[in-house]
């Protein structure tokens, strides 16, 4: 019962959302399913990318380079799959690239104490430059991503087909949220990570190897960015183009802030973004209101600005996010 008491508001909101979803489902089943399906496919890369941000910042490293990590991974995943003819190889190559780019950010910011924001932006520019140079038109994936049905869960009406039926990366996103949620708040690793992100010198005094933990977390977070990139080029679509990620890495940071650096809340925030975009697209397509197409596409960006303007002052980032750790230099 302690869990219920501690999360009273959250649970009430979740319950209200679920009830509202089923009411809508009862009123118009097809529309609700397609809207929720759109929202989730919009949210998957954002959830994964927001988790990258959460892992980094909970351990004290701001990751502005998620965009570049996703772009690089999407590129490698797509071309590895297209050239080798193996979807599995593509997915692994994409996640490996994410890991590599995570390690890059980790080493520059944690080991060499480069300014974290500048390191991230440099990572973005480098990823953009390399992917646009090596990009070649005319490649296709060998097959479409196989769809997996989770036994039992996928037969839940409305939610089952949306969340528990799909490609490996969308299912991975759900698993990742749960694992990181549990890991951050209920394991020794999580306690140490949060300590390192809030007060590295206290953690250091208590015997935690701050530098090692930060290197580890930021590098492993790259794996999730790799999954987000591979999802975009292999699962959500079967293509890659220059500038393919279109700012999603930055939307993810806004979602991370909106979700108060919490994996579960970040997932809800990402779904909210997806629902709003889906609703706007639906309104425009059905000609209910006459909004120019350009403005519909802008909605996620404007929403980000509004959400940040409202939320940024209300939530508190991990205290040491953005500050390099110098042992003994409290």
């Amino acid at each position: 019962m302690g869990f219920v008491r501690a999360n009273r508001t959250g649970l009430a909101v979740a319950l209200a959302v679920v009830v509202a979803a089923y009411v809508a489902y009862a009123v118009d089943g097809t529309l609700t399913s397609s809207l929720l399906g759109f929202a989730w496919s919009f949210a998957v890369p954002l959830v994964l990318a927001a988790l990258v941000g959460v892992l980094g910042e909970r351990s004290g490293v701001i990751n502005i380079g998620i965009e570049g990590q996703m772009l690089g991974s999407a590129f490698v995943a797509f071309f590895a799959a297209a050239l080798s003819g193996s979807m599995l190889l593509g997915a692994l190559a994409g996640m490996g690239t994410g890991l590599l780019l995570g390690a890059f950010l980790a080493w520059t910011t944690v080991k060499w104490r480069m300014d974290q924001i500048i390191a991230g932006v440099v990572l973005n520019i480098v990823a953009t430059g390399l992917t646009s140079f090596f990009y070649v038109q005319g490649f296709t994936l060998p097959q479409v991503m196989p769809s997996i049905e989770v036994p039992l869960l996928s037969s839940i009406p409305l939610f089952g087909p949306v969340f528990f039926t799909g490609g490996p990366f969308s299912l991975f996103a759900i698993v990742a949220v749960l694992v990181i949620w549990f890991g951050l708040f209920h394991t020794r690793w999580g306690l140490r990570t949060r300590a390192v992100g809030e007060h590295p010198h206290a953690a250091d005094t208590a015997g935690v190897d701050v530098v090692r933990l930060r290197l580890l977390n930021v590098t492993l977070a790259g794996l999730l960015a790799g999954a987000a990139g591979a999802y975009l080029s292999m699962e959500a679509s079967s293509t890659f183009e220059r500038g393919f990620t279109a700012g999603r890495g930055f939307l993810a940071l806004a979602i991370m802030i909106f979700g108060a650096w919490h994996p579960g809340k970040a997932m809800l925030a990402a779904l909210f973004f997806g629902l709003m975009s889906g609703a706007a697209a639906q309104l425009q397509a059905s000609r209910v209101v006459d909004i120019p197409e350009q403005f519909v596409n802008l909605l996620p960006y404007v929403l980000t600005l509004v959400v940040l303007a409202v939320a940024a002052g209300r939530v508190r980032p991990p205290a040491a996010a953005g500050e390099p750790f110098v042992k003994g230099d409290a």
Partner: protein
């Protein structure tokens, strides 16, 4: 590039004084290194550039083209013909300005990566005035169009400035979002209300000839303006109270606060100034090069500004050589593609590698060991 005295800040880990080298190091080698280390602000970018060109050569080789031929083609095309030189300087002009825009931000600890959007607003603002004040004499329409560009850029950046100063929204996120919003809104503007009548592609009508910025031989007027502004900003930052306030806020917010500097005001003002410079870059692009607003005509200029500012280590005067370098590469890339079929994006690789080597502190440490100074200026974290 006399950047050493102005860009050094008391960071969290100031480079220590030259320490004793090991006994194996000969006396004269130490002397040479000491002298070279004093010019590392210039040397590190040059070495980085050489490494980048070597990597670029390997990529060009892989595509079956002789690298020496490719590079000669690129530089000949950008520098050795009068039209090429004009084009290079035309390219360098908005690059100097967007580089300066990013530099101004960095000096206050703000990382304005939204120069792109601000530049687009400057371009469309100038185009609007250039079209709608048609018939007015040049002394009216030209300054009005330039001012419109400046104002549009400043207002757009000011949104990010206000969000940062009063709501704690990090400028990196807000400016990148504003970039997308600007691109979308402007695309709509030139697709509908400001579209050239009877045209199928989204673009504005041509500006009045009186609003055009001319060229003096192979030197565009805009280029001269950009050079003058680089000098002016260097002077403002080094010699005026406003510049001192900017640098103080950038170096140490707490100290600035205790000194009675109103930080929200300085942050907003710096963002507006930054946007004004980028907007002017866009306006000059419209009035001096394109002659109208066309979707896609200024693509990437603002993002190159980030590269330029970081290469210049936040020094306004150093943006000039950095922007010229990028201008030469971008201008020569078209000829390179024409003659050898190599994609112009090879320039992106060259710049990315250079930027990487200049900004991560490893190259300087390899070259100069303990004499290496830490890289560029510092930005701020969330909500501060």
């Amino acid at each position: 590039m006399n950047d050493t005295s102005t860009t050094d800040r008391p960071g969290p880990s100031p480079a220590g004084p030259p320490r004793e080298q090991g006994a194996t190091s000969p006396e004269n080698r130490r002397g040479v290194l000491d002298v070279l280390a004093r010019f590392q602000g210039v040397l590190v970018p040059i070495v980085a550039l050489l490494v980048a060109f070597a990597i670029g050569a390997a990529l060009i080789r892989l595509q079956g083209v002789n690298p020496a031929f490719a590079y000669t083609t690129l530089f000949r095309d950008a520098l050795l013909t009068e039209s090429g030189l004009l084009r290079t300087l035309q390219k360098a002009t908005p690059l100097i300005l967007s580089g300066l825009a990013v530099v101004i931000g960095l000096r206050v600890g703000l990382f304005n990566i939204g120069a792109q959007g601000q530049l687009l607003w400057g371009a469309i603002g100038a185009a609007y005035v250039g079209v709608h004040l048609a018939g007015a004499p040049a002394v009216v329409i030209l300054p009005a169009a330039l001012l419109a560009g400046i104002a549009c850029g400043a207002v757009w950046a000011g949104i990010a400035g206000l969000l940062k100063a009063y709501r704690g929204v990090h400028e990196v996120i807000s400016t990148i979002m504003l970039n997308s919003v600007a691109a979308g809104v402007i695309d709509w503007l030139v697709s509908f209300p400001l579209k050239e009548p009877g045209q199928s592609i989204p673009r504005s009508s041509a500006i009045d000839p009186a609003a055009e910025l001319s060229n003096l031989g192979f030197v565009p007027v805009g280029f001269v303006v950009a050079l003058a502004l680089a000098g002016l900003i260097a002077w403002i930052l080094r010699r005026t109270t406003a510049g001192f306030r900017f640098d103080t806020v950038g170096a140490n917010r707490d100290a600035a606060h205790y000194a009675g500097i109103r930080i929200p005001l300085v942050v907003t003002a710096a963002m507006c100034a930054s946007g004004a410079l980028a907007g002017l870059g866009g306006a000059i692009e419209t009035l001096g090069v394109v002659g109208r607003y066309e979707t896609g005509s200024s693509a990437g200029l603002g993002f190159d500004g980030i590269t330029i500012a970081l290469l210049a280590r936040a020094n306004p005067l150093a943006t000039i050589p950095a922007a010229l370098l990028v201008g030469v590469l971008r201008s020569g890339a078209a000829g390179l593609q024409f003659e050898t079929g190599i994609q112009p994006e090879v320039v992106d690789v060259l710049l990315a590698v250079t930027l990487l080597l200049v900004s991560i502190p490893v190259l300087a440490r390899v070259l100069f060991g303990r004499r290496a100074r830490d890289g560029v200026s510092l930005t701020s974290g969330w909500g501060s």
